[in-house]
Symmetry: C2
């Protein structure tokens, strides 16, 4: 009964998110809700009730499919609105300078595809990006992160991302993590319609050298690695 209740709660929230245009979060919630429903349908002894559940599962699956089509539409690249070529050793490119202006009150959901999250500086870059999101996007409600599993350090990665998840939840931002080992390309999708593509993803800064010098904490003064930044606006209208 707890499972059924939990499934119900997830699916109610899924429909709410769906209706308010939070399609990434709706997608996660449909998936989780459906999985939860599935898990106890098989152990339901009453045939009639089981059929009832299956009908509802089918309904939710249809909704989830519709959402998937919308998500894919949102992720389709439309036109490039800005292109920045960062040269080796360039400075002046903190995240806020590069794409702060695209992160606005209308950015409710964010999807980050970032294959590499295994080193301390990489977790730190993720936090720096999220600090910018929390600062600029007053309505930020949902984050999905797709990354590769750190096979050398599975536990550390789960602990770190788990701590980030708990921290975001305290700020009313739901955080969904998906591991995909074949991921290569880097992409950040903002629900206000902008897509940030950086050749090196979030990790295009050189280490500060010497450590205690200007650039240690303000990355505007950090030397960069060569990479290209393209800002796209997606082709589907509105949100």
């Amino acid at each position: 009964m707890t499972d059924a209740l939990e499934a119900k709660k997830l699916l109610i929230r899924a429909v709410e998110c769906d209706q308010s245009g939070r399609i990434l979060e709706a997608q996660s919630l449909y998936q989780d809700g459906i999985a939860k429903l599935m898990s106890f349908v098989s152990s339901e002894p009453d045939d009639q009730r089981r059929k009832g559940f299956l009908t509802r599962i089918k309904e939710y699956m249809d909704r989830a499919d519709a959402i998937k089509a919308r998500v894919n539409g949102k992720l389709m690249l439309g036109e490039v609105v800005a292109h920045i070529s960062i040269e080796e050793n360039d400075t002046g490119y903190d995240y806020v300078q590069l794409f702060g202006k695209y992160m606005t009150d209308k950015t409710v959901e964010i999807l980050i595809e970032e294959p590499y999250l295994t080193q301390n500086y990489q977790y730190q870059n993720l936090i720096r990006f999220l600090e910018l999101a929390v600062t600029n996007c007053s309505e930020f409600k949902y984050l999905r992160l797709i990354t590769k599993q750190d096979t050398a350090n599975v536990d550390q990665q789960r602990t770190n991302l788990g701590q980030i998840k708990a921290d975001l939840e305290r700020r009313n931002v739901a955080f969904n993590i998906k591991y995909e080992d074949s991921l290569h390309d880097r992409k950040i999708y903002l629900s206000n319609g902008y897509i940030i593509k950086i050749g090196r993803g979030l990790h295009f800064y050189k280490a500060n050298n010497p450590l205690y010098s200007i650039g240690l904490t303000n990355y505007r003064y950090r030397k960069c690695l060569q990479t290209d930044v393209d800002i796209w606006r997606n082709s589907s209208t509105g949100n």
Copy 2:
């Protein structure tokens, strides 16, 4: 002869700084120049030349005394223009929020009295302050730091501060370090006439916990220790 030339160069720069109102830097340069002159006067065999040098040393010492009086005047507290009481666990107090608006294009010289610079996070706080100075004060030219010697780690402290000095010099900011073991009070003097007094000096942030959470790099989200921040405007007029 190299010593004489060097002394001459120092004293010419001292007079230049003096005339352009950069009194902290002038003070350092007079001291260094006078010390350099002294060091070879005693080995000058020609009586007449020695007298000549002594006369000039006397002149420069008078100028240095006059500067000292002006520096002391500048450091005298006038009126409090802002008072902020930070409570334990408060957030929202990055340096830029607290006193960024007092650090302006008219801040040419800065004097930091900060007794404690021995731990990594303390050097990091100094860098964070300097990043703000470099960002906000386009005419920033001279920094004097007064701090206690790290008796447990003299070499490490010299290395760290030496690296910061070299870094600032690359940005055309002269950096003078003075060790004073009896220092207790914290004070930051800005040459545009503002004096920042913080009970705990630069070090009033708690460690980020857990490490990877909002607040790791943007201190606006860091929890603080209890401390008072008073911003004074000094009583002498002008710059």
